[in-house]
């Protein structure tokens, strides 16, 4: 793909070296290294418990690194708290949306403007991009449908005008129609040069918008490659940790 070529020549934006993240004694991410170039879209796939969510939270600053470094735009952010990373241009749409249930849609968006970077995204432009939110501005987030919540969560992350957008389990718990809607709006939303790291159970869908696919298993990267270079069988094998084809079905 031309987009992938372009990304390869761009400068590295996010550099992770030997990153280890722990949940108590359990090593959820074990010494992974990753370089993401500006404008690149990466799909992170893997089974439950592979460490994908923890890795995204580690990049966003919601999970403290036990070892290794995270460098963003040449700055070591390993020890920076989450809110400072937002100011630098890293934003996470967390798993399960995690909206502030007692705040209205508009309030959910407005709490994110404190560390907003200059850019096209404002409360109004987000609502323009997700028209379904327009009539819901003053409604409490707890009362929204799954798709509406996801749109609000994406919008809340976009408000900061991130240069690196981390999306965790976008389609989980959404009706198929809603997934369709979220992904189609996502394409237009992210098509402006911002870098994206995407986690989704739905490998096929995630792979369609990604330049590069990385497969995680038990806290490590087990497979990595440009989207076109990897076969479905390879991904499936890596996903389940098999050395031979897992057979038909997936």
């Amino acid at each position: 793909m031309t987009a992938a070529r372009a990304a390869q020549s761009a400068r590295p934006q996010l550099v992770i070296e030997q990153l280890t993240l722990r949940h108590g004694l359990l090593e959820a991410v074990r010494g992974v290294s990753l370089t993401v170039r500006e404008g690149e879209t990466i799909a992170l796939v893997g089974a439950n418990g592979a460490g994908k969510t923890t890795l995204l939270r580690g990049i966003a600053g919601a999970h403290r690194a036990s070892a290794g470094t995270i460098t963003f735009d040449g700055v070591d952010v390993t020890k920076l708290p989450g809110h400072r990373r937002v100011g630098m241009g890293i934003a996470l749409v967390p798993e399960g949306r995690r909206l502030f249930a007692n705040l209205t849609v508009e309030e959910n968006l407005s709490v994110a403007i404190q560390r907003r970077r200059p850019g096209r995204w404002t409360i109004d432009s987000v609502i323009e991009a997700f028209p379904m939110l327009e009539p819901l501005r003053a409604q409490r987030a707890a009362t929204l449908s799954g798709g509406e919540q996801q749109a609000t969560a994406i919008g809340r992350a976009l408000i900061s005008n991130p240069r690196l957008l981390l999306l965790d389990e976008l389609s989980l718990g959404l009706a198929p129609v809603a997934v369709e809607g979220v992904y189609s709006s996502l394409k237009s939303v992210i098509g402006e040069g911002s870098t994206v790291v995407l986690v989704d159970q739905d490998i096929t869908r995630a792979a369609t918008i990604a330049d590069r696919v990385i497969c995680m298993l038990e806290g490590r990267f087990v497979l990595e490659g440009a989207r076109d270079e990897l076969t479905r069988e390879q991904i499936t094998e890596a996903y389940f940790g098999l050395h031979r084809s897992a057979g038909a079905g997936t």
Partner: protein, 303 residues
């Protein structure tokens, strides 16, 4: 018809309890911690106002103005230096740390100001004695009315702050989910520090009210903490900010009616109402025992 007077006096007294409870409820709502030094901080505020009166002859009501920013700063530092650290090490640590702080404040006050009982009431001129006499049994004191009015203003102010300003919305967001708040760019430590600063400042107003309407000494703090806590629990434990004022009013009415039966029963009557509310299935006037659920703080301010 003396009971009508009792209820009126009780409601007005409730204004004072509401002020004391407001800061406690705010800190509980935002950080889920109860500051066991809250009452002592209120008393500390009263002593600072007393200090201005003694040395520069500043009237207590005027004295509040310079003391407020000092107490704001003190609250900010309290959070940054003590509470923030204690929050990291679990639920018990803030309790133990603030209890230690309470002992320190009481004894520092005694060392500095002697254990004498003081009152600032006589230094505000006619305010303390002024009253509207409705009939032979009902008379409404100007001071009680002023304190009640201050309580309503404080609650309204906090509510407006929480619902209308971005800083207030960030406070509510952090109260609900501090991890996610960080992810959208909110500095939760700063939010906590400001919440504590505001709570301490409001406690100072409470301390002044205490000093005007009755008296204080270095060990008055624990009683004020208990009254504040009772008001917060009766009002529904952080499920609503206004609940704290309502709880304060219930407590005030219980105490004045108890005192009517026998002056010794005043405080006990308040304790009993508190325990009865606790035993009742709903456990609070305005709550569905939300403290048991997830982190739901200050939710009603949205409506």
């Amino acid at each position: 018809m003396t009971w009508v007077n009792d209820v009126i006096q009780g409601i007005l007294l409730g204004g004072y309890y509401g002020i004391i409870a407001c800061g406690l409820a705010l800190m509980f709502g935002v950080m889920r911690i109860i500051n066991l030094a809250h009452g002592d901080i209120a008393v500390l505020g009263a002593y600072l106002i007393y200090l201005l009166l003694e040395h520069w002859n500043v009237s207590p009501l005027i004295g509040l103005l310079p003391v407020l920013p000092v107490m704001l700063l003190l609250g900010y530092l309290l959070q940054r230096l003590v509470l923030q650290r204690s929050l990291r090490s679990g639920l018990l640590t803030p309790l133990l740390a603030t209890f230690g702080l309470s002992i320190v404040i009481q004894n520092v006050l005694e060392q500095t100001f002697s254990p004498d009982v003081r009152s600032l009431g006589q230094d505000t001129g006619s305010l303390v004695t002024a009253a509207w006499k409705i009939n032979s049994e009902i008379s409404i004191s100007a001071l009680s009315t002023l304190i009640f009015g201050a309580a309503v203003l404080i609650f309204a102010g906090v509510q407006l702050f929480l619902s209308r300003t971005n800083a207030g919305r960030r406070m509510r967001a952090t109260a609900e989910d501090p991890d996610t708040a960080e992810l959208v760019g909110i500095d939760s430590r700063s939010v906590y520090a400001w919440a504590t600063a505001v709570a301490v400042a409001i406690a100072t107003v409470g301390g002044l009210a205490l000093a005007l309407r009755s008296s204080f000494f270095p060990y008055s703090g624990p009683d004020q903490l208990i009254f504040a806590f009772e008001a917060v629990v009766i009002g529904g434990l952080g499920s609503s900010l206004w609940g704290a004022l309502l709880g304060g009013i219930v407590l005030g009415v219980a105490q004045t009616i108890g005192a009517q039966i026998n002056p010794e029963y005043s405080i006990l009557a308040g304790h009993i109402v508190f325990l009865v509310v606790l035993i009742s299935p709903r456990g609070g006037l305005l709550t569905l025992r939300s403290a048991r659920g997830a982190r739901r703080a200050l939710p009603t301010v949205t409506t």
